[in-house]
């Protein structure tokens, strides 16, 4: 009997505001310790929080982008616990009334082995606004710090530094339902969320700097039985670690259960070096956070008008774009790759607009299957996903850093479409372009890559080939169809590869038909 894996994710997305969620201090990354800790960040006596409107707008954007309920009234609560990098002794968060309610996110789970790629809808439980804590800096001040676990290993006479620059940084905590059934689905979900928050401009997505952090709740159970006890893996800051940690955790839990043991609810940490998870705290030593509404902040009220104002600033969302791209004739896979980031989608749309200005950029026309519009859409997609992505990968660049502009690529694809250059010729043009060789037309001209599309010239070549190979012509005419390729090859060779292949085919067929 198999085990079913159940995973839910809690993601902390750092909101891309200029200042902190409850004060005007900067949240820029990498400043000298405590230079961005104002009176509020330091929790001086008497200071009060004032909610950053920009943080709320970003939460609203997220709610709108996931089709979620935006609470007309939500409440900030205090989560009380003592820790040196939590200056007030409580974190301002949202508890029973979050700003964003239930929503959903459609994810593309890539093919794995024999299992084909598939689409899945993951339900979002809620998303709420909260402030980040500061940072404890262990070492460099004394012999040892107090470790990661509260109160652990803090020896008398040792020192730990507290940097409150990050304290008060706005976070959106996005909680999913336990809808994922494999590490691959969890990663696909995390990636889709990572794309979305950057797409709608609410988070820079920088995982190294901690702008996007995942906690994974993992349990296993036998299908048809209630969910198993979950353990929460904290602070996974890369997709690779997320996958490794879940896989390890799943194996661990199954091993324990199959050994006749039971899983205790716990919070665990993933150690990337050993590839294992270890218990940080169990249910017994869980805090009683004594949540209660923060009396320093009024309930957050979001009017319909405010919601609409924010909605007007939302870009077309990945899912809507994917649907539109599929209408343009692209496969689900291509549509999803082209919407992996806003920069990628923008690039694709700009290329398409350049190479087929009449049926490209406008979202309405739905090109007929096999029509010219669909052909150019596919061609653009193929070139971006193929040549462009390969070159970007090779050079370690992002789409936004491509040395070839969308206009340049469009200019080249236009020349393929109108028969000026052959596909293989175009690849050479592309290589030259990538190296900074200029515009397509100039390169084609300079390198003599222009395709022969003059029917008379092609006919002349074909006539010569047929005349020189009369025996083969006879064989072909007596039914040896396979020889067609031979004639094409000979003619191409004679034209130095510059004959328009479609035209050459047509003419050859005509002539061979006699």
């Amino acid at each position: 009997m198999t085990w079913e894996i159940v995973i839910g994710l809690e993601v902390h997305a750092q909101l891309s505001t200029h200042s902190k969620i409850f004060s005007g201090a900067s949240i820029a990354f990498g400043a000298e310790p405590n230079t961005q800790a104002d009176a509020v960040s330091l929790a001086l006596p008497g200071v009060l929080p004032v909610l950053n409107k920009g943080a709320v707008e970003r939460a609203i954007k997220f709610g709108l982008a996931t089709g979620a309920h935006i609470a007309p009234r939500s409440v900030f609560a205090r989560k009380n616990y003592f820790y040196p990098d939590l200056p007030k002794g409580y974190q301002i968060s949202q508890f029973d009334l979050p700003v964003v309610g239930q929503g959903q996110l459609t994810i593309q789970v890539p093919a794995q082995g024999k299992q084909p790629a598939y689409e899945k809808v993951v339900r979002l439980t809620r998303a709420h606004l909260e402030e980040d804590a500061g940072k404890s800096i262990h070492g460099g001040f004394g012999e040892s710090g107090f470790g990661e676990a509260p109160f652990g290993g803090f020896a008398s006479g040792s020192c730990t530094g507290i940097d409150l620059n990050r304290a008060g940084t706005p976070l959106l905590e996005i909680v999913s339902e336990p809808d994922m059934r494999s590490a691959a689905e969890a990663v696909a979900y995390a990636k889709a969320l990572h794309t979305l928050v950057q797409w709608i401009g609410i988070c820079d997505g920088n995982m190294q700097e901690g702008s996007f952090r995942c906690d994974a709740n993992v349990s296993v159970h036998r299908p048809g039985t209630p969910f198993g006890t979950r353990r929460e893996i904290k602070n996974l800051n890369s997709f690779r670690f997320l996958e490794q940690a879940i896989n390890y955790e799943v194996q661990h839990q199954i091993a324990v259960l199959e050994d006749g043991g039971s899983i205790q609810q716990a919070t665990v940490l993933f150690d990337p070096d050993s590839g294992e998870t270890r218990v940080m705290r169990t249910k017994e030593d869980a805090h009683d956070y004594r949540y209660f509404p923060d009396p320093d902040l009024l309930p957050l009220e979001i009017s319909e008008e405010w919601k609409q104002q924010v909605a007007a600033t939302l870009p077309e969302l990945p899912h809507a774009k994917q649907a539109r791209y599929r209408e343009q004739g692209l496969s689900a896979y291509d549509a999803s790759v082209l919407t992996s980031s806003r920069a990628m989608a923008d690039f694709y749309e700009a290329v398409l607009a350049e190479c087929s200005p009449t049926d490209g950029i406008t979202p309405t026309p739905s090109p007929s299957p096999g029509g010219r519009g669909e052909q150019s859409a596919k061609m653009c997609a193929n070139w971006i996903i193929g040549e462009v992505s390969a070159q970007l990968n090779r050079d370690g660049l992002e789409i936004g850093q491509s040395p070839i502009t969308a206009q340049q690529l469009g200019g080249l694809l236009k020349r393929i479409a109108d028969g000026t250059v052959s596909n293989s010729g175009a690849k050479e043009v592309f290589r030259i372009m990538w190296a900074g060789g200029g515009e397509a037309d100039a390169i084609i001209e300079a390198k003599g890559l222009k395709q022969v599309s003059d029917a008379g010239a092609i006919e002349k070549i074909v006539d010569e080939i047929l005349a020189a190979n009369a025996d083969k012509v006879a064989e072909y005419r007596s039914g040896k169809d396979k020889l067609f390729g031979f004639f094409v090859g000979q003619a191409m060779k004679a034209s130095k590869g510059q004959a328009n292949p479609a035209q050459l085919n047509d003419i050859l067929k005509q002539k061979l038909a006699g």
């Binding site: 008497g46 205090r78 409580y90 008398s156 902040l297």
Partner: protein
């Protein structure tokens, strides 16, 4: 000079009959002489005060003075003032020199008033006798064996003893009105949200409100003109038009409907206090007011509700005092938990610890609904009582405190007895209403009695005139303690 009203002082300063430096020095000399008997001030900083006075004199000379420019005002030590030791009456902040100004402090600074010193108070404003201060009890100027009330006891004693022209207080459950009553002065707790709480060290955020304490309603009005007003740094500050709180002073009281809550004149009220309050009501009737009996049926619940909600908020508000970033840290500890425990055990006094423990308890898992949520519901009922009452009357009157000032140590062992001394004032904070206390006579042992006036939301200007008319007709407010 020490008997002059703020208006008279302002006129004298404007006419250059006295300079602010001279006036400030007069007060500093008087404080040096009398404060040792009263312990009304925690911190004096003559250098800072006189520097402000010098600047005020320049401003007066330049002709751009305000009503309070050059006038020495004492500040309760709960307000953060840049460069001033700000202790909140606690050992926990024995070394905390504030790097910033509370909104109220900047308002006074902008008006050109002089910060004369920081007044003593119950530790973190938790107390009704000023005996919980780490800096020693304050003594009542009318009888130094007696308490001044609390928590703004230092302010009340300083105003009563003429150790400042006027002063600030804060009121979470009666901390302006009760000491005002016990020291024979006037005090106003405005509607919640009228004065910014920014920089005012929080006790119970949903109840705390700053207000003026002085020798007359007219003085309070001038103080209010400086203290009140919207501040975007306090989310609970109310965005309202600036108002002139002196605008109604002088209006006749004919037709004023005074509501007398029957629950305020029941068991527990001292006979001497009842007598003085009733005489004051009679005086109001002479001034043309009518009296109607009203009921505030949930009054008896206000103390239990308050002692759930205020400690709950306080337990969280006081978490920041952990010895990590500022304030008191235990000299020796073995690890982080030990540092927290020792710093807080040594830095907080008994009453503060009691309330932190009550508050932690009522917010705990499994008790929250039964205590905190229940108390919030009753809080709404208490506010509704007032809504109903104000359908029948314009202001509510009654005693401020059930008794006159008691002796130091008298209620020290029994916190509940101490809590009961706020029975008439607490409901006002729970409802967020404005309330004031003005002197209305003397009770047993010749100690002052306070008349409480409760108004509807934002009715401060009317209340100040109601008090002012009484003070025009009587002289209780101008009596000064003798024998210091």
């Amino acid at each position: 000079m020490f008997e002059s009203s703020l208006k008279q002082l302002g006129n004298a300063l404007a006419a250059r009959q006295i300079s602010s430096v001279e006036l400030t020095q007069l007060y500093l000399d008087r404080i040096a002489k009398l404060n040792p008997q009263l312990n009304a001030y925690i911190t004096l900083n003559p250098e800072l005060s006189l520097a402000q006075a010098k600047a005020a004199d320049e401003r007066l000379a330049a002709g751009n003075a305000t009503a309070l420019t050059g006038i020495p005002i004492a500040q309760k030590d709960i307000f953060c003032a840049k460069g001033w030791l700000t202790t909140c009456g606690s050992k926990m902040l024995h070394n905390f020199v504030s790097p910033y100004d509370a909104h109220v402090i900047s308002q006074f600074n902008n008006a050109g008033a002089i910060n004369l010193g920081k007044t003593n108070m119950d530790e973190f404003a938790m107390g009704s006798s000023n005996e919980t201060s780490h800096y020693g009890a304050v003594r009542n100027p009318w009888d130094t064996q007696r308490v001044p009330g609390g928590s703004s006891g230092g302010t009340a004693a300083a105003v009563a003893a003429r150790l400042c022209a006027a002063a600030t207080g804060t009121d979470t459950g009666g901390s302006i009105r009760q000491p005002a009553a016990l020291c024979g002065i006037s005090g106003l707790k405005p509607t919640y949200g009228v004065c910014s709480r920014y920089g005012m060290i929080a006790f119970a955020s949903s109840l705390d409100q700053a207000g003026p304490m002085g020798r007359s309603a007219e003085d309070l009005a001038l103080m209010m003109n400086v203290m009140a007003g919207f501040d975007e740094r306090d989310s609970t500050s109310l965005p309202r038009e600036t108002e002139n709180y002196a605008r109604d002073l002088g209006k006749p009281l004919a037709g004023l409907r005074i509501g007398l809550p029957k629950e305020f004149f029941a068991e527990g009220l001292g006979g001497d206090v009842a007598q003085a309050v009733e005489a004051a009501i009679a005086e109001y009737q002479k001034l043309g007011a009518t009296v109607v009996e009203i009921s505030l049926p949930n009054t008896r619940l206000s103390i239990p509700v308050y002692y759930v909600l205020a400690p709950a908020e306080a337990s969280s508000n006081l978490s920041r005092f952990d010895g990590v970033r500022y304030g008191y840290r235990a000299p020796e500890y073995s690890d982080l938990a030990d540092m927290y425990e020792k710093s807080r055990a040594q830095g907080f006094g008994a009453e503060v610890k009691r309330r932190i423990m009550i508050g932690t308890y009522v917010l705990s898992h499994g008790y929250y609904d039964a205590y905190y949520i229940q108390a919030q519901k009753i809080r709404r009922l208490i506010a509704q009582d007032f809504d109903e009452a104000f359908k029948q009357c314009d202001v509510i009157m009654g005693p401020t405190s059930p008794s006159t000032a008691f002796k130091l140590g008298e209620k020290g062992d029994d916190p509940v007895q101490m809590y009961l001394s706020d029975i008439y004032t607490i409901a006002v904070n729970l409802a967020g209403l404005p309330g004031m206390s003005i002197p209305c006579g003397f009770g047993a042992n010749n100690m002052p009695v306070g008349l409480q006036i409760i108004g509807n939301y934002f009715d401060e200007a009317r209340m100040l005139n109601v008090a002012h008319q009484y003070q025009l007709a009587t002289d209780w407010h101008s009596r000064a303690p003798q024998g210091l």
